[in-house]
Amino acid sequence: MKPIDSTVTAKLQAQRGQAEALAIWQMIWAAYEREGVEGTEAYLAGLLELPGEGDHEDVEGRP
């Protein structure tokens, strides 16, 4: 594990209630190691949910 990864991990572990942030960090780092910045961007983009992206469900019979 690189110093960056282990240092960030340690900092998140030291804070209370950041278990989920830590899990996300691990995914970010894994994506970065695999595919660099593009991989990380792709991973983060996958987490982002915006209205209007395939979100249309019929409520009033209208999309």
Binding site: L12, I24, V37, E41, E49, E57
Partner: protein, 728 residues
């Protein structure tokens, strides 16, 4: 053959072999054997090819920005012999261990060999990183010191300077991650989800308000039609329609009809069918009620009797006209009998006249014959009476005269009389014909009248009616029927009123209450949609919360990254500090500001680096190095930091490759740099590449050349001509 220096702890560079690579069209091998090395020569003789070959052979690629938009194959293949396969080999040694790294351009083959064990491909790449203890980024940062990166530390733009230091300290990864980790995007996404929910809720409420207003309007109109609040729902609709059905059935019964009650109507979509059934019931009452049933034969009878009455009058008139015609004939011509007698007389007279005419005709013929004879024979006796004729009696003219008088008078008279008789006869015949026709006509009229009278008798139910009483009887019957009709008509009018009233009620239901219930149904559907929407809103709210939570977590990650950066950078700077300070002193030799401090300072969303110089570390004298040092001094300061960091980096390579370290330095600084390098080379293997001959001289003076392998790249014709001198 030179003997490699023994070190035993870390890897040193033994040789770099370059084959058909960039500025080396053929093959060149640069031996170092673990010793310090110097590559010197003018620009363009291939010095940078050696550095590139070292990096490429070990790692197969270059940092971002080294070869922008350039295909490796084109760049790395020899400048003079494009298209030729290129390859490289780097040999390192650690004590008795020998590490051979080779890479082939076209086949992309990468091999690693330590002793008799070899690896290839990805396995070899992993082994290399493990054995050398650093990846490409760290290699470029801590082993190959290039002028371009030194220059970056002196840029005016603080952002660019910080980026350069980030690269130097290996913090560019952190910066890359900080660039892409953007919590604000997720906070905005959360806001967007909430805005969507709010907008939808608002649209829902607006539509609900509109529907409620429309419902209120419909209810007002319904109240105008005397409906009550309790009617304004499906139960009310059903109740009202049930009432209507019952009342219609009662109406039917009142007017002698029995039909089933209307089907139930609890929903507006049933109204059409119920309304049609209602109209059907209404029509049934209108057409088939007892009153109608009674009225129908009466009207039929009235029609019949009226037709009979009119027919009787017509026939009577016709008969009377026929009679009158006969009477007219009688008054003009007398009785028919007399006319008949007259005709008989005329016929007799005509017979006589015919005979007379015949006789006259015969006589004339006789006379004509006699005349012809006389003219022909000139007889002496009369051909007629055969008496002798007197002398010179001209019989012919006398015959002629006689014949003419017979023809012109008697026959003419006879003819005249005959014509008159014929005319009178014809007239009589005509009159008689008229009489006959008149009689026939009269007879027919009478029969017709008789038949009609019979019909009238049947129609009025009498036994027999005299002709002169038929009209009166018919009139009487008609009057009676008319009276009955009037009576029934009043009842039917009342029935029509009842039907009209109930029809109005049904129309009021359809036009007043049904729209209310329809609008209510619409509002009910809208509420159901609202319930469904609520579930979706909860989901969207969940998404908003997720995005918010993500934003918070990413914010925590950013903070941890910044803290990590500050910590790691500070750690690197702290480790490099003493050596950097020492080199700063040797290279810069500032008379006052003799202390260098480089710090990583955290800010709100970044880490700033500060180069501060001071007199003996006193904070009162501390200044930003950029403001008080010259460009040359700043370059020397940057180099001091470079070396400090490189020397303090922990990896398994015991050599540094220094490329052109004296740009921008004045002569004293170059001399100081030469001394520093010579001193450093006593602790680790340094390979220096330079085109600066002053610096080369200083290196010799500093004693570097005595221990170093010197490669003088003298000329270049696609491949450098190298003159190598190794120490004994």
């Amino acid at each position: 053959m030179t003997v490699p220096l023994a070190n035993g702890e870390r890897w040193r560079l033994v040789s770099i072999t370059v084959r058909q690579f960039r500025g080396v069209a053929k093959e060149r091998r640069f031996e170092f054997n673990g010793r310090p090395g110097l590559l010197h020569g003018n620009n363009g003789v291939g010095k940078s090819t050696v550095a590139l070959a070292l990096q490429w052979t070990l790692y197969g690629r270059f940092p971002e920005g080294v070869l922008p938009n350039t295909a490796y194959d084109r760049f790395l293949s020899p400048i003079h012999l494009k298209g030729k396969p290129y390859s490289g080999e780097v040999v390192l040694s650690r004590g008795r261990e020998k590490l051979v790294v080779s890479r082939d351009g076209p086949t992309k083959e990468f091999k690693l060999q330590i002793g008799s064990t070899s690896w290839s491909g990805p396995e070899a790449e992993e082994k290399r990183d493990a054995v050398l203890g650093l990846d490409m980024d760290s290699f470029v940062r801590a082993v190959v010191l290039q002028q371009s990166r030194i220059r970056a530390l002196l840029l005016d733009d603080p952002r660019e300077r910080n980026k350069a230091l980030d690269r130097l300290l290996g913090m560019d990864t952190v910066e890359h991650l900080l660039d892409v980790i953007k919590p604000r995007e997720y906070a905005k996404a959360a806001d967007a989800w909430r805005a969507k929910v709010r907008a939808e809720a608002q649209r829902y409420e607006e539509r609900e308000r509109l529907l409620a207003e429309q419902l209120e309007g419909a209810q007002q109109r319904a109240r105008g039609l005397k409906f009550l609040n309790k009617d304004f729902n499906p139960t009310g609709l059903r109740t009202r329609y049930a009432e209507l059905g019952r009342d219609l059935a009662a109406l039917g019964r009142k007017y002698g009809l029995d039909f089933p009650e209307l089907p139930p109507c609890a929903e507006t979509r049933q109204v059409g069918a119920v309304s049609r059934a209602f109209q059907k019931g209404l029509q049934a009452v209108r057409l088939s009620s007892e009153l109608r049933q009674r009225m129908s034969p009466i009207e039929k009878s009235i029609a019949t009797l009226t037709a009979l009455r009119e027919g009787w009058s017509e026939r009577l008139q016709r008969r009377d006209r026929a009679r009158e015609a006969i009477e007219n004939l009688v008054s003009r011509h007398g009785e028919e009998k007399r006319v008949l007698e007259g005709r008989a007389e005329l016929e007799g007279e005509l017979g006589d006249l015919q005979r007379q005419l015949k006789a006259a005709g015969a006589l004339r013929q006789l006379l004509e014959d006699a005349l012809a004879f006389v003219e022909r024979e000139a007889p002496r006796g009369c051909p007629v009476c055969e008496q002798p004729l007197p002398e010179r009696f001209d019989l012919g003219p006398r015959l002629q005269q006689r014949m003419e008088s017979l023809a012109s008078e008697e026959i003419a008279k006879l003819h005249g009389r005959r014509e008159k008789a014929e005319a009178r006869l014809a007239q009589a015949v005509e009159v008689l014909r008229h009489f006959k026709e008149g009689r026939v006509e009269l007879d027919e009229c009478q029969k017709d009248l008789e038949r009609h009278r019979q019909k009238a008798v049947e129609a009025t139910g009498g036994v027999g009616i005299a002709e002169n009483k038929v009209a009166a009887r018919l009139d009487e019957a008609l009057a009676k029927l008319a009276q009955e009709r009037e009576h029934l008509g009043a009842g039917i009018a009342a029935m029509e009123q009842d039907l009209e009233a109930i029809d109005l009620r049904e129309r009021a239901l359809r036009e007043g209450l049904v729209p209310v219930v329809e609008k209510r149904d619409e509002l009910a559907r809208h509420e159901q949609d609202g319930e469904k929407a609520k579930a979706l809103h909860e989901r969207d709210d969940g998404r908003a919360q997720r995005m918010e939570a993500l934003a918070a977590r990413l914010e925590a990650i950013r903070k941890a990254l910044l803290d990590a950066k500050q910590e790691l950078a500070s750690e690197s700077l702290r480790k490099a500090g003493p050596r950097a300070q020492e080199l700063y002193g040797k290279l810069v030799r500032h008379p006052v500001l003799d202390t260098l401090e480089i710090q990583a300072t955290p800010r709100a969303s970044k880490v700033d680096y500060t180069f501060t110089v001071s007199a003996k570390g006193s904070s009162a004298t501390a200044r930003d190095a950029r403001l008080v040092l010259s460009d040359g001094q700043l370059t020397a300061t940057a180099l001091a930091l470079f070396f400090g960091l490189a020397e303090s980096a922990g990896h398994e390579l015991d050599f540094l490759y220094v490329d052109d370290p004296t740009q921008n330095l004045d002569l004293p600084c170059k001399e100081a740099m030469a001394r520093a390098i010579a001193e450093l080379s006593r602790r680790r293997q340094l390979v220096v590449s330079t085109q600066d001959e002053d610096f080369v001289s200083f290196l010799e003076t500093a004693g570097f050349r005595q221990e170093a392998v010197i490669h003088h790249l003298e000329a270049w014709d696609g491949t450098p001509t190298v003159h190598t001198v190794a120490p004994a």
